[in-house]
């Protein structure tokens, strides 16, 4: 039997960590874009658009991410579409992230005083102009801490994609364990790496929150 040094184990895990990071980034950026679209639908003047976004959000928040991954991976397979694991993982995570970000951001937009909408409307601005120049600049400041905080959930969410065979950090942990029979060392290292990814994110979310509260309130 081949001997694995701790360094060998760590090196393999770190290589897989790249995929965790990449998948997290894709989910977060893609989810942010889809989430912004959902946000606009959610607060639109059209009833149908609002309803669509509301049910979308409820559906994706109300079912386990694991089920969404299974459906993306196996569901599309039923229709003869062969979905590679990375694509199913990326898609499911983007859609899932979008539902949470849209809802976080909606709360921020709705916390902006109604007078801001009325004043900008009375100056002749259209809805998109109001959003772009008056509402979002104010909402963004409030949105930064919870958004950064949620990115931690995205990173941890990527671990589930190991189940459909995407080789990221968790999956690599399982593979390496099977080869080394050192589960405690391996999973200990896996946990440490996750912690190293997530801790700075949640810490900076806290710091941002404090900063934005203390800083001159509005600008």
């Amino acid at each position: 039997m081949i001997e694995f040094s701790t360094w060998d184990i760590l090196r393999n895990l770190l290589l897989a960590t790249r995929w965790t990071i990449l998948l997290s980034l894709v989910s977060f950026v893609g989810g942010g874009a889809v989430g912004l679209l959902l946000l606009f639908l959610r607060i639109s003047k059209r009833k149908a658009a609002r309803a669509f976004a509301k049910y979308y959000i409820e559906l994706f928040q109300g079912t386990p991410l694991l089920m969404q991954l299974f459906l993306a991976f196996f569901g599309l397979g039923l229709f003869g579409v062969d979905v590679p694991a990375w694509l199913a993982a990326g898609m499911a995570l983007v859609l899932w992230t979008a539902s949470f970000l849209a809802e976080i951001w909606r709360g921020c937009v709705e916390s902006i005083a109604r007078g801001q909408w009325e004043a900008s409307a009375s100056l002749g601005m259209g809805r998109l102009q109001q959003m772009r120049y008056v509402i979002l600049p104010q909402a963004l400041k409030i949105a930064v801490p919870p958004t950064v905080g949620f990115s931690v959930q995205v990173v941890k969410g990527t671990a589930l994609t190991s189940i459909i065979g995407f080789v990221e950090l968790s999956k690599a942990g399982t593979v390496v364990t099977n080869a080394t029979f050192q589960p405690f060392t391996v999973y200990g290292l896996v946990a440490l790496i996750y912690f190293a990814l997530c801790w700075p994110l949640s810490k900076s979310s806290q710091i941002l929150e404090r900063k934005l509260n203390v800083a001159h309130r509005n600008h």
Partner: protein
Amino acid sequence: MSLIEITEIRKSYGTNEVLKGINLDVEPGEVIAIIGKSGSGKSTLLRCINGLETITQGSISVAGAQLIDDELHLKALRLKVGMIFQQFNLFPHLTAGGNVMLSQTVVKKTAKAEAEAVARKMLDRVGLGHKFDAYPDELSGGQQQRVAIARALAMQPIALLCDEITSALDPELVAEVLAVVRELAAEGMTLLMVTHEMRFARDVCSRVVFMHQGRVHEIGPPEEVFANPKTPELQQFLGVH
């Protein structure tokens, strides 16, 4: 033809009818004070005139154009009619100058340099030329309200709607805002203002509208309305006898 023609407008919230058939014609340059008890529909009337609320029945026309509830018509209307609010509603993330410039550049597509020149002129006009770079939370309430007036003026409206614009101010700050309004009136701006400043209404306004339970209950020149109220409701409101 009057500048603003309000004909038989009605407005309900659910089953609660707040405006019950209002008729009012406003001539260019008129200054109209709207008075009445809380809940009589004064704010609702102003908000209907610039389309912040949609009317249930009746018609409103401004400078010959009918008020129609779609974004294009509303925008055209709001370019003609500005509104000042009780709570100022300045944009807190922009400086005083930025507040006055924003709608010019965004709505009217005015070039930035020109918008800035207009903003400086309008801020000067309300006595705040030196506060161009100050943020709203660095200004007193009276100053904020004057910036809000400058912001509305920058769109070159033909009429201004003012909803209790001094009610949120400390007593010592009321005068500076009223002075600006008085000046606008003297320059011939058409004004519709909901106010509790009876002295001001008496001195400056051409007509006073007394609203009661969603109707125009009494209307006339201030001398008449204040000195000689006809209805018991207005007498009670003014606290005579």
